[in-house]
Amino acid sequence: MGKLKHVLAATLALSLAGPAIAAADDIKMGALATLEGAFTVLGEDGMRGVKLALQEFDYTAGGKKIELVTGSSDASPDSAVRAVRKLVEQDGVQIVIGPLSGSEGLAVKDYAKTQPNVTFLNGSSAAQDTTLRSPAENFFRFSTEGAQWMAGLGEYAYNEKGYRKVAVLAEDYSFPYTQVFGFLEPFCRLGGKSPIDARFWVPIGNKDYSSVIAALPDDVDAIFVALGGADAVNFLTQYEQSGGDLPLIGGSITVDQSVLGSKGKARSFVVGTPSAGPVSDTWDDPRWKEFVAAYKKAFPDGFPSPSLFAHAYYINSKAALLALNEVNGDLSDGEKKFREALSNLSFETPTGMVSVDERRNAIADIFLTEVIEGPDGNLMNKTIKVIPQVNQTLGVSYDKFLEYGQVGRENPSCS
């Protein structure tokens, strides 16, 4: 027993000492994603995106080796802060990529303000206020956010699908608020309705949707569903089981690969569900196809096609690596040059050109999609339309956009 204790102590000491062995002029990059909880699958794909970008650069940028340190959260803001604090304060990373989920992003942005010498690049978190209101100087988001992702969907639902009144089912935190806002704002401006009492907000990680399904009103044309990961899978199965027959409109992560690619009964009834987001599985463009091929080659056990999480983490990581190349790995003086390079960066991604605005939020192309059944039986998102260069204020001026008010359960009121 005594011997075992010593061995254990030694192993522990070694594993703790591990990160400190790295050579002094390596650059330490921290990646933070949800590797536990309801969004595990999403976080795993996010990490694949980081690794894909690093592999593309052969783990070197600006003439220096990049050392990757990973951190895990469970989609709650405090777990994200805990994990990022460990990355920054214990592991001493100089650049952070992450987090994954909306409210985590808000918390990490606030933390970023207390660490002016570290640069934070978003993972895939997509709450509006991470960059819109009181942004942090050192937080960059090269992936777009939830309201941008909905570009064109509200108009499509109203004009093409002919829906006039929709119910809303979404998780109760900042990212779905942003998505609901992004969808309803144009939908309601055109004349569509979504009464406040037909909006259902459920906690993250809710498993049993049958009562919510029973409470859904009959007199609506469709349901806008903004759930992610396991939550979306649960809802879709139970909706089918309970004989639901209203058409759905999907949030960006409700009908993406992390849901369509899950194991078990095929959810073929979602075929035809319109959605919008930063990626489209079947986009017929060489840049995207090349990205998909690289993803499939590097991660044979990943999804049939990279999810928007892999995509967002990839883009943010790539932005960091490109900027590092530009400044030759110079992170001195509070990473000043590096941040300047990031602010001026404009680069070609698998989904078109990306650059950031003055609040360091991305301007990028958005895809309007519809679920189809692929040739080998996989469910896929087909591109209906590409909306070019969507910015965070959705085309209006910053001041006017602020007048729309903060996203929330009742914005827009739309009744």
Partner: protein
């Protein structure tokens, strides 16, 4: 029963009235003023059924938990991991053989065996040291969660039950009568009714086992005073192993049932552990009846919360727990404090 009515006549009448009211609300066609006040009947009846069936699922998980605690005074915080392990094993078997029932059986057996191993290899070494046992179970649950994440990744799994268990059935309960005079019947997922039936069957089975068999008698005696039981010449360790096997097996069994009704994903272990804890705190630690009552209350609270005030629904569950702890700390059916 008669005793209860004689002693608490007032409460018996209140209880009877509530039951009658519920039955009326389920079977009558709702008048307009009631729809005005409560929303549609469909919502109410479905929520009620959901609450009861979810309660059934919680009972399956919590009964094993409470059984183990009752006999061994061992708060097995790895109970949720056994639920999840059962679900994954069941999925693998059901997926490979295409037989859902085989998956169910194998999950029960495999997790029962893992329970036996836990008891024989670990808990027996630290008998009479409750705190240490509890801490060890936390450790096991953390390691098990990561090991399962490594093997089955974070993907959400969903069972494919036989077709006749999938889909919705018309219940003989009228939802509304259309203006044309045609009655609209309420639809309900078949599998959830099956969950309820299984929970009731398991509950009755456990009751018969505990109250009508010799081994059950030994277990009950052990719950009351295990030293005394040992002194009468019963091999207590063997009884412990048996109870652990049944308790763990039930968790694995519930994993397949729950994974079919809902889904399987990492994090479920904590969720069901928490649900079991709340259920047994409300119902009373160590009591099977308590687990049934607690599961029913928590299931209903969760579902009504979700349907009628989704945003704050979660609070309801814990509010009930707080009230029970304040008014009756030993739980509704708990015996000695």
């Amino acid at each position: 029963m008669r005793n209860f009515i004689e002693r608490h006549t007032f409460w018996a009448i209140v209880l009877l009235l509530v039951v009658v009211l519920f039955l009326w609300m389920i079977f009558a066609v709702w008048p307009d003023w009631l729809v005005e006040a409560f929303g549609r009947k469909k919502t109410f009846v479905n929520t009620l059924l959901n609450g009861v069936t979810l309660g059934g699922l919680y009972f399956l998980v919590a009964s094993g938990f409470t059984l183990i605690f009752g006999l061994m005074r061992n708060v097995n915080l790895a109970h949720g991991s056994m639920y999840l392990l059962g679900a994954y094993i069941g999925y693998e078997v059901a997926d490979r053989t295409g037989n859902w029932f085989l998956g169910l059986a194998v999950a029960f057996l495999a997790v029962a065996i893992s329970g036996v191993l836990l008891q024989v290899l670990i808990f027996r070494r630290m008998a009479n040291d409750d705190l240490r046992q509890t801490l060890v179970t936390i450790g096991i649950s953390i390691i098990a969660a990561d090991a399962m994440l490594a093997i089955w990744t974070g993907t959400t799994y969903q069972f494919s039950p036989p077709d006749w268990l999938f889909g919705a059935a018309d219940l003989p309960i009228i939802s509304v009568i259309k203006s044309s005079g045609a009655a609209v019947y309420i639809k309900y997922p078949v599998f959830r009714l099956v969950v309820l039936a299984i929970a009731v069957a398991v509950g009755i089975g456990l009751w018969i086992f505990l109250n009508r068999t010799r081994i059950g008698m030994m277990i009950r005696a052990g719950v009351n005073d295990r030293e005394m039981l040992a002194a009468t010449g019963v091999n207590v360790q063997l009884v412990f192993v048996l109870v652990f096997a049944i308790g763990a097996g039930l968790a694995g069994f519930a994993g397949v049932i729950g994974g079919t009704a809902l889904s399987v994903a990492p994090g479920e272990d904590i969720r069901y552990l928490l649900a079991s804890l709340v259920v047994v705190i409300v119902g009373g630690l160590g009591s099977i009846t308590g687990a049934a009552v607690g599961a029913l209350i928590i299931g209903l609270a969760e579902q009504f919360g979700l349907a009628y005030f989704p945003t704050y629904g979660v609070v309801l569950t814990f509010l009930i727990m707080v009230v029970v702890l304040a008014v009756r700390p030993q739980g509704l059916m708990g015996g000695r404090g």
